[in-house]
Every structure is written in C-alpha cells, then in structure tokens.
C-alpha cells in the first residue's frame, strides 16, 4: 500500500476526531481498540522476528544500536532546545498560575 494513502487516512481520521467530537464513551472504546491493535501488531512483529533467523541472531547487536540511538536522540534533542531556548524566552506562567 502506498504511504500516501496511509498518511491520507491518518489526516482524514484526525479531522473526523477534531470536527466530529466523538462522545467520551466512544473515545474510550477507540482507546481499547487501539490497545488491542497495538498488542496484535507487537505479536506479529515478534512472530516475524522469530521467523527471521538473520535478525534473531543479531538481537544483541541491535540492542546495542538501540541504546546508542536512544542516547544520541536525547543528546540531539537537548542540543536542539539549547539552540532555540534564547529565542523562545523564559516561560512566564503568570496567567495559568493565577487561574488555579
């Protein structure tokens, strides 16, 4: 399936949620459905990993790579915040603080 259709489906669903204002009970059902779908996909992911001897045997290296990416992503995001925080300026929570 073309990725364009996936993104179009995502955008359409976002607009449906935004404009359709689904009632709270329906949102709860959708959350349950999403959790079930995610677990099913995680199971499928495991199933495909288990069948794929190449990936299965490389799991230790993939774990090390995962840690490197996690650390690098955190460092990169901190660098990003460091670069833009002078432009954003200090957050002055005057209004929010007095409202609570």
């Amino acid at each position: 399936m073309d990725m364009i259709w996936m993104l179009a489906a995502l955008l359409a669903a976002f607009l449906v949620g935004l404009i359709g204002k689904p009632p709270k009970r329906l949102v709860t059902y959708i959350e349950y459905a999403l959790t079930a779908v995610i677990y099913f996909l995680i199971f499928l992911m495991g199933y495909n990993l288990g069948r794929d001897d190449m990936i299965f045997s490389r799991l230790p290296q993939l774990g090390a790579m995962s840690l490197a990416i996690a650390a690098a992503a955190v460092i990169g995001s901190l660098a990003g915040v460091f670069l833009v925080h002078p432009i954003v300026g200090r957050y002055k929570p005057h209004n929010e603080a007095s409202e609570r």
């Binding site: 949620g17 495909n48 490197a68 915040v81 929570p93």
Partner: protein, 198 residues
C-alpha cells in the same frame, strides 16, 4: 501501555515465530492492521482537544521547543546510525519515534523494515527510561525546557507527572503541548523518514 505485558506479548510472538507456522500471511495482514491503527490514532489525537488548546494557550513561539526536540532527536539518531553502521534513514526513523515505542515500532515493522522495528521498540523504551532518570536533574540544573527534551512524545502522559513534580505545576501545560505535538508528528515523520532510503 504496560511494558511487562508488552514484552511478554513480544516474546510470545518470537516463540510462535520460531516454533509455529501460523496460517496467516503476516505481511499482508499487518499492512491492513497498520492502516486501522493509523485511523484509530488519528481519531484519538483529533478528538483530544486539550492538545490543541494547550498549544494555543502557550503561544506559537513555544512550538519552537518541540520542533527543536524533533529535529535534534532525528539528527542525533541519524548520527548514531552513521557511526554504528545502521542505514541512516532507518536510524533517523527510529529517532523519530520520540519515545512512543509502540507506534514507531509497529509502523516500521509493518512498512517492511522488521529490523528497524525491533530497534525502534528497544530504543524508544530506553529513551523513556533515560527520560525518567534524567528529568529531575535537567529540570533543576537547566530549567523546564530541557526537561522536555528527553521526554519527547511521552511528555503528555508517562513522564508528565515527573516533569510537573520537578518543574512545578505551571509547566504541566507546556509539557502536555510539547508531548502532544511530538505525538502528532510520530505517525507522519517515521514513515516519511524510512522511505527516504527508497
């Protein structure tokens, strides 16, 4: 999401894959299930008006913070991929999970990148653990904006209580807005980045 249950389901899947032959064409099945997943995620993100309200209330200039977190995460992950010998577009897509391990991993695994999917799952769980470990120190030494960086998409749920405890209640709205914007970006940037490699 419940991490122990999730790992149990994953291990169950791996065991099933090693020893069983399920009567499904998992590649075709997963493409349709992925489509359903994106529709459900889209509806939920659209229906959650708190996210948009938070973004409007904190002001548009603040959006530079989550955008910088997004760019920095992707760039950092790409560098790690380059140095570690992983295809750069796959590593960048893993970084584009911003800590939302379940969504980023299933998108990658079901887009034909099972190895990147496995890395996205492990890497983004690790990011969440790093966030939980570093947020108090970052908040104290450098301020609230820096506490939002490791949290990524999880700033709207899992790490929100810790951010509020470390930086004060007033930061809660910022954390929610940042996490919500990054969550919205995950289903867009992960598939886009991984396709950059062709």
């Amino acid at each position: 999401m419940n991490i122990p249950l999730l790992i149990a389901v994953l291990i169950g899947g791996i065991v099933a894959g090693r020893f069983l032959q399920l009567p499904i064409d998992s590649r075709i099945a997963s493409e349709w299930v992925l489509l359903i997943l994106l529709v459900l995620v889209g509806i939920l993100l659209g229906a959650d008006r708190r996210a948009l309200q938070a973004i409007f209330r904190v002001g548009f200039r603040f959006l530079l913070i989550p955008l910088a977190i997004a760019a920095g995460s992707i760039a950092g992950a790409a560098v790690a991929g380059l140095l570690g010998g992983m295809p750069v577009h796959e590593a960048a897509a893993v970084g584009g999970g911003f800590g939302w391990y379940s969504l980023s991993s299933v998108i990658l695994a079901n887009s034909g990148y099972p190895q990147a999917g496995a890395v996205a799952l492990m890497s983004n769980i690790m990011r969440e653990v790093i966030a939980l470990a570093t947020i108090p120190l970052l908040a104290r030494k450098f301020g609230a904006y820096f506490a939002l960086a490791p949290a990524g998409a999880t700033a709207m749920d899992v790490t929100l209580p810790l951010i509020v405890r470390s930086s004060g209640a007033a930061v809660g709205l910022l954390a929610f807005a940042s996490g919500a914007l990054l969550s919205l970006l995950v289903p867009v940037v992960v598939p886009l980045l991984v396709r950059l490699g062709g």
